[in-house]
Amino acid sequence: MTETTLATPKAPPGTIPGLRGIAADWASDQRAFKNVSWGKAMMWIFLLSDTFIFSCFLLSYMTARMSTTVPWPNPSEVFALNIGGKHIPLILIAIMTFILISSSGTMAMAVNFGYRRDRVKTAALMLATAAFGATFVGMQAFEWTKLIMEGVRPWGNPWGAAQFGSCFFMITGFHGTHVTIGVIFLIAIARKVWRGDFDVERRGFFTSRKGYYEIVEIMGLYWHFVDLVWVFIFAFFYLW
């Protein structure tokens, strides 16, 4: 008969069950997030703050678009390209999105190899990510040039609401700045990985602190965030 009674899983000593336990864990000694380093915590909180910036930009854009009394230019048409005699809507944006999403893949692989302390592969994959990012910014520059040639300005455009150009240049410009900063940091950190700074714990030029491979992951957090923001911009600005 004894085997029918189920053994209740015993909590390790000192733990409190239920909601109180969650609160106690959060409030516990020394660190609120037990396995999170300072740098990673800082990046997460920064990204939270940055989320609010992009949300405000996107909400402002939506307000402008919903309250405008003149027609909003059709993004499918504006961002169409003629390739090989065919008129393909949104093709450039589709390629740009594909490239940026791919760069998240190479970034994730770089993080993986970083934790395996594989210097060469990590650096190569980070450089590949940076190259994807630079390509993205390059295509954005092409897109800007094309629109400017067609007469789109921050203060007006030939097809309708002036806010179309304002929002387009502001939001893609701000996102493009994020990508550009990301590319610069990717190259800088790839250089450090390549040189083996994190194996010999060489000190940083500015901070004079030792570096660790974790910085690759922190860089990755930023990069994935920038990609995720693009998905929202793509959905709300181009697909709407």
Binding site: Q30, A32, W38, S49, T63, A162, S166
Partner: protein, 591 residues
């Protein structure tokens, strides 16, 4: 990593991470100017904030001179008056209070109070100060550019903020917005440091629920600032684009000086939403650190534990969360939907609950306490009175129907000066009198301190109490000269003159305070390590002022909360947070 054992008796777990090596300065420049030490950065922040605050003080004198004696001073014309109110408001709210509470008190107190050697990223912390200084310099530069600073009011509402009828349209508004953007960038670098230090870099035994309420207040305010400043950032960028590139985010089709402008299709209300999504949390960004500081001052100087510590913490967190859903109560007269106003009136009044909990708990802490009427305590009591005063008028303004007739009158000015002007400044003064001995090793002069308190407290009431009455009469705010109006009786002008004289006197009392700060640095009484016999960690440092790395060889271990005052059976009327239980028991046995 050193092997640190579990403290069985006190239940303090071993260290989870090894110590991070500090940055060691190697020259005068890296020690005192480009310093990465949070304590030096705190002093730099405080001095910069107080210097620009002096400018704001002089501006308030100018405004009061004009309001009290209209037509007497030829050097204050209508344009300048608008510029003065704008810069006074902007400097006081953002460049003085926010910077002083978070950059000044936050930098000094957070690492010391949680038992850390420094902020987690000292280099970023240093950058934060230098970007802040740049923001202040850009702001100050607007006084010297052609056209002078902007006169758009501290809320910078478009369309008028960037149209040619408003003073400072050429340069003032552009530099103002640039300065705000810089401030936000600088603050973000500091703010990330404060939050991560509180969350991840506490010493052994320092659980979140053992932190002094000052840290809780600054921490919550910083989290709020990190989420609220983005809205101001976005609003500033968009307004800057409207002004410089001719976009129309906030600009409707309108006529300027008889000419149709090139703008069209934008929404001025959008700016108001963005601005107040920042602006309302901003009120609590300066109030929450004040709440925390006041809690600690009252507990220490009444020699009694804070009443309802847990409730105090939850009230701070609840106020922080609620303050993000009340912003549109600043916009009742913007023509928004009445149901929208109803929602925001409800949330606004709900904030009264956690706030009232805090006030009751302060009063209950004082109840039967061993109250020492020291200067910090006087300022703490002054805070409670002015804050309750301003909070009660907030109930008037929070209700839509009562707010509508009171909108844009002096009643509003009196309300927010009481609740987020005088009250937080009282906390700033209380905090400075309280922690100055730790920062410098010397006490501030007591007689000058008493003089400063009584003149400031009574003077502030002399200025702002009659202002409520003027507001009820219908005297509008932001008017250069109300002239002869039917609804403002002649006696109101006498009252205005009285308030102006009081304001001048209060201003001079602040100069006495600044003199005290400098004089006591040299001539003040030696303070010793713990002059107020306080329990929290910053008073237990091996050196005063605390040295580089704060704690000497070993980090302190925390065994108790920060409010063990007048514990029955203990040898002294306070038990420091880092005093092991065994030693307390031994002292209790042999008194």
């Amino acid at each position: 990593m050193v092997d640190i054992p579990f403290d069985e008796v006190a239940g303090v777990p071993p260290a989870e991470v090894g110590e991070v090596e500090l940055y060691h300065p190697h020259s005068w420049w890296t020690r005192y100017v480009f310093s990465q030490d949070a304590k030096v950065i705190a002093v730099q922040y405080s001095i910069t904030a107080m210097s620009i605050g002096m400018v704001a003080l002089v501006l308030s004198w100018m405004m009061r001179l004009q309001l009290g004696f209209p037509g007497t001073f030829s050097f204050i014309d209508a344009n300048q008056y608008l510029q003065f109110i704008t810069m006074h408001g902007m400097i006081m709210v953002i460049y003085l209070l926010t910077a002083l509470f978070l950059g000044g008190f936050g930098n000094y107190l957070i690492p010391l109070m949680v038992g850390a050697r420094d902020m987690v990223f000292p280099y970023v912390n240093m950058l934060s100060y230098w970007v802040y200084l740049l923001a202040v310099l850009v702001l100050a530069a607007t006084f010297f550019v052609p056209g002078g600073p902007t006169g758009a009011g501290w809320t910078l509402y478009p369309p008028q903020a960037i149209l040619s009828g408003t003073p400072g349209q050429d340069w003032g508004i552009v530099l103002m917005l640039a300065s705000l953007i810089l401030f936000i960038i600088g603050f973000t670098m500091g703010g990330l440091n404060y939050v991560v230090t509180v969350l991840q870099a506490r010493t052994r035994g320092m659980t979140l629920m053992r932190m002094p309420l000052t840290v809780w207040g600054i921490f919550t305010a910083t989290v709020m600032a990190l989420l609220a400043f983005p809205a101001l950032f976005v609003a500033s960028v968009m307004l800057l684009l409207d002004r410089l590139l001719g976009t129309s985010f906030f600009m409707p089709t309108l006529v300027e000086m008889g000419q149709l402008t090139k703008y069209g299709g934008g929404s001025p209300i959008l700016f108001q939403h963005l601005f107040w999504f920042f602006g309302h949390p901003e009120v609590y960004i300066v109030a929450l650190p004040a709440f925390g500081i006041i809690s600690d001052l009252i507990s220490t100087h009444a020699r009694k534990n804070i009443f309802g510590y847990r409730m105090m913490v939850w009230a701070i967190v609840a106020i922080g969360a609620l303050s993000f859903v009340v912003w549109a109560h600043h916009m009742y007269v913007s023509g928004m939907h009445p149901y929208f106003g109803f929602f925001f009136a409800t949330t606004t009044l709900i904030i009264a609950i956690p706030t009232a909990i805090k006030v009751y708990n302060w009063v209950l802490t004082l109840w039967r306490g061993d109250i020492h009427l020291t200067v910090p305590m006087l300022f703490a009591l002054g805070f409670i009175i002015t804050f309750v005063n301003g909070g009660l008028t907030g109930l008037f303004l929070g209700n839509v129907v009562v707010d509508v007739p009171l909108s844009d009158t002096m009643f509003v000015v009196a309300h927010f000066h009481m609740v987020m002007g005088i009250a937080p400044i009282m906390a700033v003064f209380g905090g400075i009198y309280h922690w100055y001995p730790k920062v410098t090793g010397r006490m501030l002069n007591d007689a000058l301190g008493h003089f400063h308190f009584w003149v400031t407290f009574i003077g502030a009431y002399a200025v702002f109490f009659p202002m409520h009455y003027l507001g009820l009469l219908g005297m509008p705010r932001r008017y250069h000269d109300i002239g002869e109006t039917a609804f403002v009786p002649a006696s109101a002008h006498d009252l205005n003159a009285f308030m102006s004289v009081a304001a001048l006197i209060v201003g001079f009392a602040q100069i006495v305070f600044l003199f005290n700060l400098v004089w006591s640095l040299v001539k003040g009484k030696e303070a010793g390590g713990n002059p107020w016999r306080a329990t929290s960690l910053e008073w237990q440092t091996p050196e005063t002022p605390p040295g580089h790395g704060n704690w000497g060889k070993e980090l302190p271990v925390v065994y108790r909360w920060a409010y063990d005052y007048s514990v029955p059976g203990a040898a002294r009327d306070f038990i420091p947070q880092n005093e092991p239980p065994a030693r307390v028991a031994a002292q209790g046995a042999h008194p």
